[in-house]
Every structure is written in C-alpha cells, then in structure tokens.
Amino acid sequence: MRSLGEKIFESIIKIISLFSVLLLVFIVVFIFKESLIFFNRVSIVDFIIGRKWNPLGAAEDLSIWPIILGTVYVSIVAILIAMPIGVGTAIVLSTYTSNRIKKAIRGGIDVLAGIPSVVYGFIGLLVVVKFLEINLSLAAGESVLAGGIVLSVMVLPFIISTCDESMEKIYEKYSQSSSALGVSKSYLIRNIILPESKRSILASMVLALGRGMGETMAVMMVIGNAPIMPKLLGKTQTIPSLITLEMGMAEVGSLHYHALFASGFVLMLILLGINALLYFIKSRINV
C-alpha cells in the first residue's frame, strides 16, 4: 500500500517536471517555427542587415537593422550611465558602511528593483522626456537618450547587487592583512579590491546589457518608436517595443506577423549569446 503511494507520487512529480521542461523547450521551438516561415521567404542576412521596416510594403521592406541598432544603442547608453554609479555604490555598500546602514540601503535598492517597468516608463515620460525637451530644446524628448536614462535606473539594482556581493567577499579576504600594513582603506580598494572584482564588474555589465535589451514597457514609452537609424537625441525603436506595438495589428499568418516572430527570434539569439558570455565570465570568477 505504502510503496504504491510512493510510486504514484514519484510518477506525478516526474510527469510534471517533464511537462515543465518540455513546455520551456516548446516555447523556443514555437518561436523558431513561426519565424522559419518568414526566413523561407526572406533570407536571415537580408532581414538583419536591411535598412527598411515597412509592414505594408513588399517582403524586402521588412528588415530590422535600425531596430537592432536601436535596441543595442539604448542599452549601451544605459550601461554607460549606470556602471559608474552602480560600481561606486557597491564599493560603499561592501566596504564603507555599518551593517545597519548597509541593510537600509540594500532595502531601498531592492524596492527599486521591484518597481514595475510600466511605472518607470510613466515617470520617464513625465520627468525625463519633459526635462530633455525643456533643457535641450528638442521638439520631442522621446529619444535614445531618454530610453537610456530610464533604463539605467532599472539596471542599477542588478549592477549593484552583483558587484556588492563579490566585493564584500574580496574585502573580507584582504582587509585584515592590508590594515596591518597601515594602508588606508581607499588605497586598498583602488589597488586590490577594484582590480580583483574586475570580472564581477564585467559580469554585472553583461547582465545589465541582457536585461536592458529585453526590456519592453519602460523603454517603449519614452523612445518615440520610429524604425529609423538611431541618433542619441532622435527617436528610435527596439525589438521588444516593435513586437508589442505591432503584434496586435498584424494579420495572423501574414508576412508582417511572421516577421515579428523573426525579430523576436533574432532578439533571443542575441540574448542567448549574451547569456553564454555571462556564463563564461561567471565560471571564471573564483572568489
């Protein structure tokens, strides 16, 4: 009796686990299959390097080079802004603060990480975009820069927590022997801790890049969504926002519809590459 129950339970667990894993694989295969229909008509190379996105035009008019560039551009701007701030904060958290203050600041950063992206987009539209319009006297503040600024705030928590964690370990490792030498804390950090945490800093950067490129709502609300070659102060388009905005309108089964899947597929490939890079960097962090 008892062992029958055991066997049934074990089988249920196995079946559900198998189902979950197959489901995950199925999602990827499904996206691939739907994009394949498009790639049968337009070659993947033309799709990627072509300059024009016009859903109402011919097949050759569906290509996403400017959109890929826009996706990358916004994320890179975000990282350029967020890295120095994030690393600086991580240094303070891991070495300069008492436990109580550390906890409080970390709590605040966790909250920052928990704010939904649509709220970031909302504030970005009302504050960042307006600010750019007034101060740079732009006709429209929706731009790569606006997207980058909003995104930089969103990736800050990832950067801070990744760096903070490893810096804390490195600091614990060296602080005693270094203070025995009579060296100041700032000297220790600049000459040992920062160089030692190089890989973690790089890992946090790649992580942030991946997060940023997949981000939808916040970016979509502040970049103006025009599929043109991106300029820092001009409108742009990213792959996630392209899919969000056009999927509802695209006729099911049309070339436009499959092209949207294809762009999703390209995004997944890019992110897969980034994740592989991240995995590679992480496996070499030996703290």
Binding site: G5, S20, T89, G108, I109, I115, S184, E215
Partner: protein, 278 residues
C-alpha cells in the same frame, strides 16, 4: 597625481554615486506619492472606470481585482510546475546529466524577455488554443515568466536542508515521500511561500506579457476564466499612452506600488517569523 588627490577623487566618486542612488529611490517614491495621493479616495478604489474616453472618470476597482486574479493564476500554475521540478531535481533525479540539462534550460528561460513570452502566449494560447484574450491566457503567460524565478529559489531552499536531518529520517525506516511532506517541506515552507509571493509581485507589475494575452482597456470584473480583464499596469499604460487622464494615472501608479509594497512586506514578515522560529 599624488595619493591624497587620488583618494579624494575616489571618495568623491563613490559618495556621489551612493547619494544619486538614494536620491533616485526617494525621488521616485516621493514623486508617485505626492502626485498620486490626491487621486486616491474610496470612489477611485471601489468604482469602475467611466467617462469619455473611458478611464477619465471613476475608479480602478476592476483593474485591482484583475491584477490580483492574474497574480493568483500565474502563481498557482508556476508554483506547481516549479516545486515539482525542484523536488524531482533534488530528491529523485539521479543522473547528473539530466540535472545539468534541466538547469541549463531553466537558466536560458530566465533570460528570455517577457515580451517573447507574451508573443508565445498570444499566438499559442490566445489564437491556436482559442483561449481568447482572457484571465487564463494572461495568467499562464505570466506563469511562464515567473517559473524560473520560483524554481531556482525553491531548489536552493531544498538543497539547504541539513543532509544529516534527512538521513536521520531515512534511518528511522521512513520513506522519501513521508520525509518530504512531514519533514522537508515543513522546514522549507516559509522560504517557499516567500519565493512565491515575491514572484507574484513580479507578475502583478508586468505589463508586456499581458498586453497581447489578457488586458483590455475596459472590462467588468471577469465572470469566468475566459473573460478578458483590466489590469493595473496595463491601465496605467493606456491612461498615459493615450493621454486620457494624468491624474488617474498617478493614482493608478500609486495603488500598484502600494500593492507591491504590501506583498513585499508580507513576504518579509514570513521570513522573519521563520528566523525567530529557529
């Protein structure tokens, strides 16, 4: 540059960074709170949206209920899958290769952007399976999104249970299943619940997976799993994007953030009571 200047610049940099981060945290909350607080009253919380265009008057009650429903469905769905997979990986799977494969797949999945999941949910669930734009389709799509989040945390919790405690149960001649239900799961319960609540908050705030699968501009409280719903993040997007009402948008943002904060506090309390228990 001498050591003194270097040290000075260095300290200036890190201090400034921290101040910026703190300023952002306070600014965001201050901004939403000060602008949103006036919009919140009983009518806003308990009435449906009205006016022309819809949303310019009235409240957001259906969106609150819709968001909670979506969160509930996604949590139930994802937890069942994630907890089972974790139990399988920790207690039943004997092949290192299968373990590695499942970890790899889960990790890849956690890197898939939510809009791709939305795309899948829209095409497969809404169109192919004919679920339509509905609470069910949206909840399942959000479930795909939070599955890796819950799975990773639950597995970690299960692995942290002291091996010698588990062995002393086996040494009493007691079966795996009984050990799992009466010893391991009770020990991990609060960690698991807290992981699920955090994931729930994550699901509730997400707009991109539900734009195509569940959310609509106006709907009453759903009467069945196949009805479309209103949801707070989508409502906020529509109110701002279409320029319907800034005042209502501030209120919606504040309600959304407060709900998430409450969920976070609940999860923290669960964790603290557990620590005291030990």
């Amino acid at each position: 540059m001498n050591e003194k200047t270097k040290s000075f610049l260095f300290k200036g940099w890190i201090l400034l960074s921290t101040l910026i981060v703190l300023a952002i945290v306070f600014y965001i909350f201050g901004y939403i709170l000060s602008n949103g607080i006036e919009s919140i009253n009983m009518e806003f919380l308990l009435d449906g949206p009205s006016g022309i265009p819809v949303g310019s008057q009235g409240g957001i009650f259906p969106a609150i209920v819709g968001s909670l429903l979506l969160m509930l469905i996604s949590c139930v769905f994802a937890s069942i899958l994630a907890i089972s997979t974790s139990i399988y990986l920790v207690f039943y799977c004997e092949s290192e290769r299968i373990k590695g494969l499942i970890h790899l797949i889960t990790q890849c999945m956690s890197g898939v952007p939510s809009i791709i999941l939305g795309l899948f949910g829209y095409t497969f669930l809404v169109l192919y399976l004919n679920l339509g734009r509905s609470v069910l389709a949206g909840g399942l799509t959000l479930g795909f999104m939070i599955y890796p989040f819950i799975q990773v945390r639950v597995e970690k919790t299960l692995l942290e249970v002291d091996k010698s405690i588990i062995n002393s149960s086996y040494a009493l001649g007691i079966s795996r299943t009984y050990t799992l239900f009466k010893l391991i799961l009770p020990i991990c319960k609060s960690d698991i619940v807290s992981a699920i609540t955090l994931a729930g908050g994550f699901a509730m705030g997400a707009a991109s997976p539900i734009i195509l699968t569940a959310a609509v501009t106006f709907a009453p409280i759903p009467s069945s799993l196949s009805s479309p719903v209103m949801a707070l993040p989508f409502h906020l997007y529509i109110l701002t994007g279409e320029g319907i009402s800034l005042e209502k948008a501030y209120g919606t943002a504040l309600v959304l953030i407060l709900l998430l904060l409450i969920i976070n506090i609940i999860s923290t309390i669960i964790n603290i009571t557990r620590k005291e228990h030990k």
